[in-house]
């Protein structure tokens, strides 16, 4: 057994289990030791499920002994608190859901239970997945393991930090406008947003239903592919789940050669104000793709990209304003009950239960959908959404993969952007077009920036393909990753 189990990749840990060099109980105990030593500084978890985890680890060890184990059997994982877990409190980082114990499991949890997951706990997040830094959690921010005074990105802040700091071998997150890829980039791990409809949203607490998608965080592309294979596929309980077969990803990870792969670089993603270190790292990564045999076109144009931020911040809050109407203090969670009337109770429940960002977005969406404004905002945004989608469609006639930055800057300081919502929204300018068009996208480590105070801050590379072509996405990501050592770097926390 190696000295430290915490920073193995999922695949390496899985090999140890199947070779009987370590048990799932060993991995689980090591994970909780790491969490107990670190998490008062990182705050990746909202709650730990130690008893459940140890039971699951014992069951996994028996399953391994019977020779019935799969690649995820017995591997400790962290679950974003926006995914419902039967019998385990699920709050979405919000006071309004404090104490809510779901009576059922999300589809992804059913799949992970079949695969033999060991659930360590539920991870911290921006309230209802609305945010780009983790600072909108009602239960306090998460720290970036690479620099504790900086954000890990968001909204899946705890999931990214747990994987980056060696607490969990993989984690589930959700991505509505970049909430997996942006924290993966800022925290130096791999994060995948699958095609819209690829993974069932049954049991994913709804934020913006036409954009939301569940996906994995991991420490290597291969690991992310293993989790993707476990959770992807049609589910009749989600009517937007796509009846499309899931390809065999392991075949896509066989070759490190990218000969013949057509790569396009959309110029509009290199936005004004982009950090120089990000520009250099991403440019270097694209040159590396060329040296692996890819044919790179540096001058692709997606002219509607500049409209994506406005489109997103109309569509997502509009859908959110409808989805979050269910939090009324009647059925579950926090309830104000001292009012004179039912309406007063409901207004006070939502006043005290929701944080500022959630209120802002509900009000934006309510306004955009209200009588007299629907055509000017929501309908207009949906039409521009069509233009953005068609430009991607045209690009994918010529290119197999589009490559871009994930975030215009590396991790910023906790508190730096909280006073200026529009500035915070700009953190997602390179990721949200992918949600608008329903495409799969991945973030993988491609270098580091050095901050003024000397901190080493990870930088992510984004790859995007046409819908349902995750096989090509993984092929390109794997070949790049294996030709570098960035994914082997660990924070010294």
């Amino acid at each position: 057994m190696p000295d430290s189990l915490n920073y193995l990749t999922l695949s390496e840990a899985s090999d140890l289990l199947r070779g009987r060099e370590a048990s799932s109980v060993d991995l689980t105990r090591a994970a909780f030791e790491r969490i107990n030593a670190l998490d008062d500084r990182i705050h990746a978890f909202l709650r730990l499920t130690d008893e459940i985890a140890l039971e699951q680890a014992l069951a996994a060890d028996e399953r391994i002994a019977r020779g019935e184990a799969g690649p995820l059997t017995g591997i400790p994982a962290a679950i974003k608190d926006v995914i419902v877990t039967k019998g385990v409190e699920t709050t979405c980082g919000s006071r309004i859901l404090k104490g809510f114990v779901p009576p059922y499991d999300a589809q992804v949890m059913e799949r992970l239970h079949e695969a033999g997951v060991v659930m360590l706990g539920k991870t911290n997040m921006d309230e209802f997945a609305m945010g780009s830094s983790g600072e909108n959690s009602a239960f306090g921010p998460t720290a970036n393991p690479w620099a504790l005074d900086r954000v890990p990105g968001g909204s899946s802040s705890g999931s990214a930090a747990a994987v980056a700091s060696g607490m969990a071998y993989y984690a589930l997150g959700s991505d509505t406008g970049g909430s997996i890829r942006q924290p993966a980039s800022l925290s130096g791990v791999v994060g995948l947003k699958p095609t819209y409809g690829r993974v069932s949203r049954y049991g994913l607490v709804a934020f913006a239903s036409s954009l939301d998608q569940i996906g994995p965080f991991a420490r290597s592309v291969r690991d992310a592919a293993l989790v993707f294979e476990a959770i992807a596929g049609h589910d009749a309980r989600d009517s937007t789940s796509a009846p499309v077969e899931v390809p065999d990803i392991s075949a896509a990870l066989a070759s490190a050669d990218l000969k013949g792969l057509r790569v396009g670089v959309p110029m509009e993603y290199f936005v004004e104000g982009m950090d120089d270190a990000v520009r250099q790292a991403v440019t270097g990564a694209i040159n590396q793709l060329a040296s692996l045999g890819a044919e790179v076109d540096w001058e692709v144009s997606l002219p509607s990209t500049g409209h994506a931020l406005a489109v997103y911040y109309i569509i997502a809050p509009s859908e959110a304003s409808a989805n979050l109407a269910r939090y009324d203090g009647v059925k579950y969670g926090y309830a104000y009950t001292e009012g004179k009337t039912m309406w007063e109770d409901m207004e006070k429940t939502r006043q005290h239960g929701f944080g500022d960002e959630v209120k802002r977005r509900i009000m934006l969406g309510t306004y955009a959908l209200s009588a007299g404004y629907y055509d000017a905002y929501y309908l207009k945004a949906q039409k521009v959404r069509t233009l953005i989608r068609l430009e991607f469609d045209a690009a994918f006639e010529k290119y197999d993969v589009l490559v871009a930055p994930v975030s215009p800057t590396p991790a910023f300081r906790i508190g730096e952007k909280t006073g200026d919502p529009l500035q915070m929204y700009l953190s997602d300018v390179c990721t949200l077009p992918v949600n608008i068009a329903g495409l799969p996208g991945i973030s993988l480590p491609c270098g580091f920036a050095t901050a003024e105070d000397g901190a080493r801050l990870p930088i992510g590379l984004q790859m995007i393909t046409k819908p349902f072509d995750e096989a090509t996405l993984f092929r390109a990501a794997y070949a790049y990753e294996q030709s570098t050592s960035w994914y082997r770097e660990r924070p010294s926390v």
Binding site: T240, H307, E347, K359, L379, K380
Partner: protein, 97 residues
Amino acid sequence: MSLSREQVQHIARLARIGLSDDDIAKFSEQLSEILDYFERLRQVDTEDVPPTAHTLLLQNVWREGDKPEPPLDKEDVLANAPIRDGDYFRVKVILEE
């Protein structure tokens, strides 16, 4: 585009969110700034462009057959009720006399 206090109060009422006086001032400034940013979409030509509601282009997805399945456990569901009254969620009077 600037939202008045009255407009912010109206939106908050539609959304059933109570706001303090400070909230109203803060949100009217912040929401106005965001709505200003949205103005740029007016310049985009969307004549004859159909809207995209979602990207899968699936329509009218029906369930296969009507298979009865066990419902959620009643006790598990009611255990979350802020105010439970037997097998009911209790709320204050809705219709006034």
